[in-house]
């Protein structure tokens, strides 16, 4: 059964089709949520919220973009809204600490890895999201433009600024 058929069946209330579509996309959605949040518990909540929202709006999916792009746009929106609220209420966790505890990539040099995470997390939300989507998750500028609802040129310029700021932040780093 292809993706379009699964979507049609979910709209009719078929939970097995729901699970099948979920299995196809959940690992990537969770990965994206984790990359953006740096916290496994939040990534779990964001993934759940994104799928609940997506399933409830499947009838609005027109197929103009790939389903994965449409779904990932919802994830980015859910995460961005949550981060905005955290900042607004001053409840942002010490991301540096969270990352150093939760991250599982032990291969990179610990100091450099820590410096990169700190530098990325100090970027403004728009630059940080664009950098993570492009350089970490590997989305194209066209896909990011759809996800963020901005022109492709804006994505390119945001990525360029994000890399420049990252380069500057890491300039003093000595290995």
């Amino acid at each position: 059964m292809n993706e379009a058929e699964l979507i049609a069946r979910i709209i009719e209330g078929d939970r097995l089709a729901g699970r099948a579509l979920y299995d196809m996309h959940a690992p990537r959605v969770f990965s994206l949520a984790y990359r953006l949040s740096g916290d496994p518990e939040k990534a779990r909540e964001f993934t759940q919220d994104a799928f609940i929202r997506a399933f409830s709006r499947l009838s609005q999916f027109r197929g103009e973009a790939a389903f994965s792009t449409w779904l990932h746009r919802i994830v980015v929106t859910v995460v961005s809204n949550a981060r905005r609220n955290e900042v607004r209420f001053g409840r942002e966790v010490a991301l540096d600490e969270a990352h150093s505890i939760e991250s599982t990539a032990a291969e990179a040099e610990p100091d450099l890895k820590e410096s990169i995470e700190r530098a990325v997390n100090r970027l403004s939300e728009a630059y940080r999201t664009t950098l993570i989507l492009h350089d970490v998750e590997g989305y194209t500028h066209a896909e990011i433009a759809v996800m963020l609802g901005v022109p492709e040129g804006t994505c390119k310029s945001r990525l360029s600024v994000a890399r420049a700021q990252l380069r500057e932040a890491l300039a003093a780093f000595k290995e």
Partner: protein, 210 residues
């Protein structure tokens, strides 16, 4: 750090930056399945079932009638010259916008009242059921408004409606299940999303523009 090393850092980001742990697929699916497929509200989620479910169709009709009642009556066919007919188009458009604004204002007030009187974790079962039913009613209107021109023109309203939709889904689920953590989660969602103060602000905005 030189340019070459920086390029290496960038190309290594997929491996080194926030490398995700294995996703808890079954655990997450349990929550999603419960919220979407096990809830009586799941019938609301698709447009096809939405329109074929009688009471929902009735709710849609009621909102439509409400909007229609607020519109000015059509004037009898006129012997009016063309310039007047041309000016009737924007007036009609404005009347539709006014009707949506009135419906939105009424809805926002009801949503605010519901959230303000949300019971504490030790509330009674009866209260839960009444709240859940009211939330289900408001959820219908929420989803209609999300698709309405009013929300498509107003980004802040759309964002508020999106957050309200999730909160109302959670409250409506209290009809079936009840735990302290459920209500705590709802209170937390309302608080973190700043939903009440955004609601109050939206109510004030729609009121002042009347």
């Amino acid at each position: 750090m030189d340019e070459d090393r920086f390029e290496e850092v960038i190309s290594d980001l997929p491996r080194s930056f926030n490398a995700p742990p294995p996703p808890p697929l079954d655990e997450m699916w349990g929550v999603i399945e419960d919220a979407h497929f096990n809830s009586p509200l799941s019938k609301l989620t698709s447009r096809s079932s939405f329109l074929t479910t009688p009471w929902l169709a009735a709710a849609t009709l009621l909102v439509g009638i409400g909007i229609g009642a607020l519109l000015p009556r059509a004037k009898p066919p006129a012997t009016v010259p063309a310039p007047v007919a041309q000016s009737a188009v924007p007036r009609e458009t404005s009347a539709v916008a006014d009707a949506y604004r009135d419906q939105t204002h009424q809805y926002l007030g009801q949503a605010a009242a519901l959230l303000i009187s949300l019971p504490a974790s030790d509330g009674s079962k009866t209260a839960d059921s009444a709240f859940a039913n009211k939330a289900a009613d408001l959820l219908v209107t929420t989803r209609l408004l999300i698709d309405s021109p009013a929300a498509s023109r107003d980004v802040k309203l759309r964002s508020l409606l999106d957050d309200l939709e999730l909160v109302l889904v959670q409250i409506a689920r209290l009809r079936n299940e009840r735990s302290r953590s459920d209500l705590d989660l709802i209170h937390q969602a309302v608080e973190q999303g700043d939903v009440l103060s955004r609601l109050n602000s939206a109510v004030a905005t729609t009121q002042s523009s009347e």
